[in-house]
């Protein structure tokens, strides 16, 4: 949403350089330098003719020179070298002809290995002969590395093919078709290749051969260089685990960042990159500490985040949490239309765009010359500043006209006014908030936006079922730790700890149960509850919903948003109800909106089932104890809770499988209601 996407295809921004922009021409390489010339153009008839003439001329010239040289050489050789068998013949021949077929025979023993490049017959070969000494050394390399030869053959083959066509005289089975040819080269034995090469070599100019050789050599060099480079990289990449001293002494942030990056790399391919004798734990601990230092989180929160995200994603999340999300506004459809509003704001010098295909009322503000929260349009209630993520729960709730809807934690009234706008000011909207000061914001916003069907009240959400029930839909945007909106409120990084989270999800659970109780399952149009938080911790989201699934006659339904990631079904030792897949999570790094969680529940019966004692209960009770200032006891009880939950896991799953209407009766049933009520009473006193 934040990025400037193409929302309207009609308006196409011109791309590329301007009319007068000068452009440097593409570099021109010599033909021989470009290696990937697999598809060499066929030469035209004239070109062929010219090439043939040129070749002829060249060979003639070279021949003459060679003859001269050879004559000299042979004279020298005759004197020096005395070969056992052929010496007589060759010497005679050479004296007469210089370099002939017989000569070739004489040369053979020396060249046996050099299958590819040796030229058996023609006079044109003589040109090559001069550089024999040099060629030998290269050829020896080739013999050592047949594999190297193989992949060069593709190009060689092409060359041969072309030249064959040119002359039209060579006709071997191998060269029937180009493709089959290549395959044959790649797969078949050496001998075959050598045959082909012999055929091909007939038509090659000496300079071409030299070129081929040179290319081979270059490739070999490159290959070696690459290997060496890779070795170097591998050596460098082995991240040296910092010593105790290094850890003790604080380093610069740059170093910490580098270390974070290194550790992330190591963790991504742990088995091959780890230092011997180091466990994964050590690396993750180091990463945890470094991340805490670099992003200034407290260790607890970072640890929790590391449990939620894989390392790579965690880094993205942390980075995304550093930058603010784009400013979004919601058009008040009670007073204006998005197009009119956009036009009015553009006239005031605001640069904006629709928020995305998924919303018809959202606008993203990129830049503005006027304060966006004080334009006459704003004051006249044509729009409200609202994060894009705040649209989601209301869209999930999908209010209908003439319904009775409750927003339990409404302040400052952004989502509630959205509901009213969708209902078109019909029906009844109850906007509740526990904080009396904040309800003033609801009043202001509602009047400004022209919401007239609302009752604004100030209750603790947990008591709301005692006030009024029978709502068609209930929205619970529960108070949370705000781990999804770290960009908005960075104090979250350092202030939250286990206790805060416990307090939060405990409250959230009670609120969600209250919200479910407020809802009327028999409503003809509704019976839906939407639970949302701006936190990304599963403790405050999936776990709370899971808790409610067990205690009330509700089921999860799809939220009706076509994006977002699925909710967790497994988280650490927790195994949630499989239908929690239907919930949606939104992250700053993937969706460019605040971290958010949305779950939509459908109530199918107004009966409140008798509660079942399981690990959740015990944990909440423990938490109640925790809240009383007993620091030491708290830790113990936490541990106990963890143990218990582990033990009772299988039992929990059984519960899920069984019909939610009929809760398995426990022996402790009778005592439980009292126990359950206890905490609530305590809360109310507060």
């Amino acid at each position: 949403m934040g990025r400037k996407a193409k929302f309207d295809d009609e308006k196409k921004v011109k791309k590329g350089p301007g009319r007068k922009a000068r452009k440097q021409a593409d570099p021109i390489f010599k033909k021989g330098l470009i290696e990937e010339d697999n598809d060499i153009k066929k030469l035209s008839h004239r070109q062929k003719q010219r090439a043939a003439r040129r070749a002829k001329k060249k060979t003639e010239l070279a021949e003459k020179r060679k003859l001269l040289k050879q004559a000299k050489k042979n004279v020298a050789k005759q004197k020096e070298v005395v070969h056992p068998d052929n010496s007589d013949d060759s010497s005679e021949d050479e004296e007469v002809q210089g370099f002939t077929d017989d000569n070739k025979e004489w040369l053979k023993p020396k060249q046996k290995g050099k299958s590819v490049q040796k030229e058996p017959e023609t006079e044109s070969d003589s040109g090559h002969e001069g550089s024999d000494a040099k060629g030998d050394s290269i050829d020896e390399d080739e013999i050592d590395k047949p594999g190297n030869e193989k992949y060069k053959l593709g190009t060689l083959d092409d060359l041969f093919k072309d030249s064959d066509e040119e002359n039209g005289d060579v006709d071997s089975d191998d060269e029937a078709t180009g493709s089959s040819n290549k395959l044959a080269y790649n797969s078949d034995s050496e001998e075959e290749k050598s045959d082909d090469d012999d055929d091909g070599d007939d038509d090659m100019l000496p300079i071409e051969k030299a070129n081929l050789k040179l290319k081979k050599k270059q490739k070999l060099d490159k290959k070696l260089a690459d290997e060496e480079m890779q070795l170097n990289i591998a050596k460098q990449d082995v991240f040296a685990f910092p010593s105790e001293e290094e850890l003790q002494n604080p380093t610069s942030l740059q170093d910490v960042l580098q270390r974070i990056k290194d550790v992330v790399v190591v963790l991504s391919d742990f088995s091959s990159l780890k230092e011997d004798g180091r466990s994964r734990c050590e690396y993750t601990d180091l990463l945890l500490k470094d991340l805490c230092v670099y992003y200034s989180y407290n260790e607890f929160l970072m640890e929790v985040l590391m449990q939620i995200f894989p390392v790579q994603e965690l880094m993205e999340f942390l980075e995304a949490s550093e930058v603010a999300r784009p400013v979004t506004i919601r058009t008040n459809s009670l007073k204006t239309r998005r197009r009119d509003l956009a036009q009015a704001l553009i006239n005031r010098g605001v640069n904006l765009d629709p928020v995305g295909k998924w919303s018809k009322v959202g606008l993203v503000v990129y830049s503005s010359t006027v304060p966006i929260g004080a334009t006459p349009e704003y004051l006249a209630g044509h729009y409200i500043l609202q994060g894009a993520s705040s649209f989601l729960p209301v869209m999930a709730l999908a209010p209908q006209e003439n319904e009775r809807i409750l927003d339990m934690c409404a302040a400052p009234g952004g989502k509630a006014s959205h509901i009213a706008a969708i209902m078109k000011n019909t029906g009844a909207l109850f906007a509740n908030d526990a904080n009396k000061d904040r309800t003033k914001a609801i009043v202001g916003n509602f009047h400004r936006l022209g919401v007239v069907n609302a009752v604004i009240c100030n209750y603790d959400g947990r008591q709301f079922p005692d006030v009024i029930k029978g709502f068609d839909r209930v929205l619970l945007d529960a108070p949370c730790t705000g781990t999804g909106v770290i960009a908005k409120d960075p104090s979250v990084k350092t202030t939250k700890d286990q206790k805060d989270i416990q307090r939060c999800f405990n409250l959230q659970r009670q609120l969600l149960l209250a919200a479910i109780d407020c809802c009327n399952a028999k409503s003809s149009t509704g019976g839906y509850i939407v639970y949302s938080t701006c936190s990304i911790l599963p403790e405050e989201n999936e776990w709370v919903v899971n808790y409610a699934l067990k205690r009330r006659n509700v089921k999860l339904v799809p939220v009706g948003l076509d994006f977002g990631t699925e909710g967790f079904v497994k988280y650490r030792h927790h195994r949630f109800h499989p239908s929690l897949k239907l919930t949606r999570r939104f992250y700053p790094h993937t969706h460019n909106m605040d971290g958010f969680f949305v779950a939509k529940l459908k109530k199918f019966s107004n009966v409140i089932p008798e509660p079942v004692k399981d690990e959740d209960d015990e944990e909440t009770e423990n938490k109640e104890k925790d809240e009383q200032p007993k620091e030491k006891a708290e830790e113990q009880s936490k541990e106990n809770a963890d143990k218990k939950s582990e033990v009772e896991e299988p039992k929990k799953q059984k519960n899920i499988k069984s019909n939610p209407l009929k809760r398995p009766a426990n022996s402790s049933e009778t005592q439980l209601p009292k126990k359950k009520k206890k905490p609530r009473k305590q809360k109310t006193k507060k």
Partner: protein, 180 residues
């Protein structure tokens, strides 16, 4: 939420008539159900009967607002219209003033409308008539009282006040706390 006393009802309707004239009865006789005025802590709310019944389930201590707040009775038992009533006043008001874009901000900060900022004015506006102030693009931004008749406006000094400021939508920001 209690029913307004007869005296207060009279005061309220007198006040409303100043702004919307005979259209007051449109507020009472509505095709979409009956609407009524209710008083809570001297504040007057305009609310549909259906919503009122639901709102009565909420205890008075916990009820912050219901429907639309029109204004409040002062200690001297005069009625003062709040900007929140603009939603209902603006569409029914027969007399209007339009201000130039340059004068919008001035008015939104609580200043009177002066001749130089006057864009348009309804014909035959009498003196001291309640008027709704609009921007040139027909967005209502507040209301006030005409200081001069339309005829007088033509020959007025550029700095002469045309309409006295009573309420403007800038109050949503300036005095959010006192709206209710």
């Amino acid at each position: 939420m209690k029913i307004l006393s007869e005296q207060r009802t009279k005061i309220l309707f007198e006040k409303l008539t100043k702004y919307i004239g005979v259209n007051v009865k449109l507020l009472i006789d509505r095709p979409d159900g009956t609407y009524c005025f209710r008083e809570k802590k001297d504040r007057v709310y305009y609310i549909s009967e259906r919503l009122l019944r639901l709102a009565q389930t909420v205890k008075p201590d916990h009820l912050i607002s219901a429907g639309t707040c029109f204004g409040k009775f002062t200690k001297t038992n005069k009625f003062r219209l709040h900007i929140t009533a603009l939603t209902y006043i603006a569409p029914y008001a027969p007399f209007k003033i339009w201000v130039k874009p340059s004068a919008e901000q001035q008015f939104l900060y609580g200043h009177h409308v002066i001749k130089s900022g006057l864009g348009r004015i309804t014909e035959n506006t009498p003196k001291y008539q309640g008027v709704v102030v609009n921007t040139m693009s027909d967005i209502p931004i507040g209301f006030g009282v005409a200081a001069r008749t339309t005829a007088e406006c033509r020959h007025a000094d550029p700095l002469a006040t045309i309409a006295f400021h009573q309420a403007d939508i800038g109050e949503y920001i300036r005095s959010e706390d006192t709206l209710t």
